[in-house]
């Protein structure tokens, strides 16, 4: 099914169905990850691949139009290159250890300590969160920075001056006229926000954490914006404020690291944050996950606002 969907994406000319298919692709790969017992990854994929990225792509489509303009043509050299790469990947699988084999190197070297000792060293049940947030916490810090960078990039491309004073335009997207959609979403948005908070703070115990929570939170706001118009959303959430929040998330994460340095540990060493190392780990993880959540949510909303802002501008030009 994954392959069929991928081919569908490549062949289809109608961008609307391409986006729908890629959303399905995201959902399918999420299922795929679940069967491989990678629940956290699946959750992220479901939230990002099937949730927020189609939303953003729809917005882009509203700007650029629905159909591809380029004529269909096949490039032979591209086909050859792709075939070579694919062949190399297949060759690589031939000597791979069997999937799930207990004697595979990936299971033997670093992983046992994460599994056996993270309970004592970090003290939270979700090992994935332990690895993400403390053992390899600096990678996660880097990833948050990547998201922040992406936000800055989109902002710098799409920013078109200050438009705060322009008149309201409520007919941004046609969906705003649908009564059923409005009522259903009004009912749904509050639980989505609540669910985001649950995911945010429950990451220690079950699958979840800042990334997923941030995306879900942002999705709720984006849905609201889609239905009620950009301006009413901006009345609730100021764009400049979202920018600051994107930066604050990264700074919050970094601040944890700096505080642990001041307390005599290495950067991001949560042990020294409290008298009891386990408590320190808890505090550290909660705060950095919060930082992650804030930045992710803020950047997603920021990206959407920038796109939608473009859309509003075009609407004004058309009028």
């Amino acid at each position: 099914m994954l392959i069929a969907t991928a081919i569908g994406i490549a062949v289809n000319r109608d961008l609307l169905s391409v986006v729908m298919l890629s959303s399905i692709y995201g959902l399918l790969s999420a299922n795929f990850f679940v069967t491989m017992d990678a629940v956290d990854v699946a959750f992220t994929e479901a939230a990002v691949g099937a949730g927020i990225s189609p939303l953003l792509m729809f917005t882009t489509m509203a700007i650029v139009g629905r159909y591809e303009k380029l004529p269909h043509r096949w490039s032979l050299s591209a086909l050859v290159l792709v075939s070579i790469t694919g062949a190399l990947l297949l060759v690589a699988t031939m000597d791979m250890p069997a999937f799930g084999a207990p004697d595979a190197p990936a299971q033997q070297h670093v992983a046992p300590r994460y599994i056996e000792q993270s309970g004592q060293e970090v003290g939270i049940p979700n090992i994935v969160t332990s690895v993400l947030a403390t053992y390899r916490g600096f990678d996660t810090f880097g990833e948050v920075t990547v998201i922040f960078t992406a936000g800055v990039g989109v902002l710098s491309l799409l920013m078109v001056g200050d438009r705060a004073t322009k008149p309201l335009s409520s007919h941004l997207l046609k969906a705003s006229q649908h009564k059923i959609l409005r009522i259903v979403s009004k009912v749904l948005i509050a639980p989505i926000l609540l669910f985001a908070l649950y995911v945010q703070f429950h990451g220690d115990y079950g699958p979840g954490g800042g990334f997923q929570a941030g995306v879900i939170f942002a999705a709720a706001i984006i849905v609201y914006t889609m239905l009620f118009g950009l301006d009413s959303a901006r009345q609730v959430i100021d764009q400049a404020w979202v920018r600051v929040m994107a930066a604050v998330g990264v700074l919050l994460y970094g601040a944890v690291g700096v505080v642990s340095m001041v307390n005599g540990g290495n950067f991001l060493d949560y042990d020294v944050l409290a008298k009891d190392p386990l408590h320190g780990q808890h505090y550290g993880i909660i705060v950095i996950e919060l930082g992650v959540g804030i930045t992710v949510a803020a950047v997603m909303v920021l990206i959407y606002f920038s796109f939608a802002g473009r859309l509003v501008d075009r609407g004004h030009q058309d009028d």
Binding site: L88, D95, G142, G153, S156, A247, V250
Partner: protein, 491 residues
């Protein structure tokens, strides 16, 4: 505090970037970025000194020891590169305020400096880390911010150039990620030194071979090795002038560093010689790069673009040194990393000054520039001489070591080709000199010399070009030891 230097090197610009976004005002953002970059330069100096005196430093992030947590590992090689990147960033940043003000829209200037800091942090992070996956993370930071910086160029074509680079760069990064994933699968570790110990056991498997291939091709995309260089000329030509100077002096250097790090430290010095003649391939591709890119450079109408092609050629020289596989060849490559950063920094900064005053870097518009902007023109000439490899400049030093290294290996045809390649450089530099010095300026032009704040850092680079061409003690001794350490480590 001194023990925290390795991490401070990276998190200082990294945390400065979001702070800069909150600051808001462009002038403030510039001052803040410059101060941050200068502090990073100071840290890198201290680090180099510390490594030079006491040997490699290792820093465990989060307090988790090496294979479990992420390790920062500073040896001579990356300490040297940290210094190159942070100091070039500082010097270029010092002279960019006017140039940015002229070329970037006012409401985007703060974002410009935020991206600059992020890019700096990303590059430093790639250099400092001893963890293969961490490399990828910071590669993403630096790449994304680079795309942003390029897209801020004045010409609308900058968007297209940035998009091209985004596609190619993403493919490169994905290849590197696939390679790292395969390595993890076969060894169960992501730490570079740990990988180096555990890879030889499984070196015969096809999976590791594929990992090697993916990493090398991915890195070569990033460093614009011929024939994977097509993104570079556009990206450099349309980016804001200051960005071109910064990227040309640092970004490709970091990619070359990654190539060295992966092929020598992680896979071991003699790994590549196994199945495919990688050394010969590198030398051949390097030579083709030198010749094809230099020839194209001669035909360019826009000087910025010509010098961008010259970068592809210069990368060719570095790859030749690498392909030799000897300590001398490696040393030549490392020397050229440093020297090329100095000369390209000087050349692109002088072009930035030209663009600031003339609004263009097309060859025809530069007629008689020596009379209007004598100091800028002079700086360009000196940078160009260094690029050609005239004695008493840094360019001569790198060519000298490279030629000696090839002769040591008995490859005199390669040595001859390298010298012929330099002649091509003479041609594309001379075209510019001829127009600038021997043609009359258009009577109507009212152009005056670039402001002092641009000239000062520009001439600092020019003087560095000459100083390190005469007093070679520092770079030569550092690179010699770094090359020895790399080859020793691999065995």
């Amino acid at each position: 505090m001194l023990s925290h230097l390795p991490i401070l090197q990276v998190i200082l610009p990294l945390l400065a970037a979001p702070s800069c976004l909150i600051l808001g005002r462009p002038a403030l953002a510039w001052g803040f970025s410059f101060a941050t970059s200068a502090a990073a330069m100071l840290i890198s100096m201290l680090l180099l000194q510390q490594v030079w005196l006491e040997g490699p430093i290792s820093y465990f992030l989060g307090g988790w020891e090496a294979p479990w947590g992420i390790e920062y590992c500073i040896d001579l090689l990356n300490a040297f590169l940290l210094l190159i990147v942070s100091s070039l960033s500082t010097v270029v940043l010092a002279g960019t305020r006017q140039s940015v003000a002229a070329e970037v829209e006012p409401n985007k200037q703060t974002l410009f400096y935020v991206s600059w800091l992020l890019c700096l942090a990303g590059l430093l992070g790639i250099l400092a880390t001893g963890d293969a996956f961490n490399v990828f993370v910071f590669l993403e930071v630096s790449s994304l911010s680079t795309y942003t910086l390029i897209s801020l160029g004045r010409d609308r074509k900058a968007l297209w150039a940035s998009y091209q680079y985004l596609i190619v760069g993403t493919i490169g990064a994905t290849f590197i990620l696939i390679g790292i994933g395969l390595m993890y699968m076969m060894t169960g570790t992501l730490n570079m030194q740990d990988l180096a110990q555990r890879l030889p056991v499984v070196a015969d498997t096809r999976t590791v071979f594929a990992a090697y291939a993916f990493v090398i091709v991915g890195v070569c995309l990033k460093l614009a090795l011929f024939p994977l260089h097509l993104w570079l000329p556009n990206a450099y030509a349309y980016a804001p002038s200051a960005v071109t100077a910064f990227l040309a002096a640092t970004a490709t250097k970091v990619a070359v560093y990654l190539l060295i790090r992966f092929s020598f430290t992680v896979f071991g010095a003699d790994f590549g010689a196994m199945d495919i003649p990688l050394h010969q391939l590198f030398i051949a591709l390097g030579l083709i790069a030198v010749f094809s890119a230099s020839l194209v450079a001669i035909l360019q109408i826009d000087i910025k673009r010509a010098i961008a092609y010259s970068s592809v050629a210069q990368i060719g020289y570095m790859i030749i040194g690498l392909g030799l596989g000897s300590a001398a060849g490696l040393q030549a490559t490392l020397l050229h990393l440093f020297n090329h950063a100095l000369m390209k920094g000087a050349l692109f900064m002088s072009l930035a000054a030209v663009a600031l005053r003339m609004g263009s870097t097309r060859l025809d518009d530069l007629a008689g520039l020596s009379q209007r902007m004598p100091l800028t023109a002079m700086a360009f000439v000196l940078g160009g001489l260094s690029l050609i490899g005239v004695p008493l400049t840094v360019g001569f030093i790198s060519k000298w070591y490279l030629v000696i290294a090839t002769l040591e290996m008995g490859m005199w045809p390669v040595a001859v080709l390298i010298l012929v390649g330099s002649l091509l450089a003479v041609m594309y530099i001379w075209r510019v000199v001829e127009v600038m010095y021997f043609r009359d300026p258009p009577a109507s032009s009212q152009v005056s010399e670039a402001p002092v704040s641009v000239l000062l850092p520009l001439w600092l680079l020019v003087v560095a070009n000459i100083y390190f061409g005469i007093d070679t003690a520092l770079p030569v001794s550092v690179t010699a030891d770094a090359a020895q350490a790399l080859l020793g480590w691999g065995k």
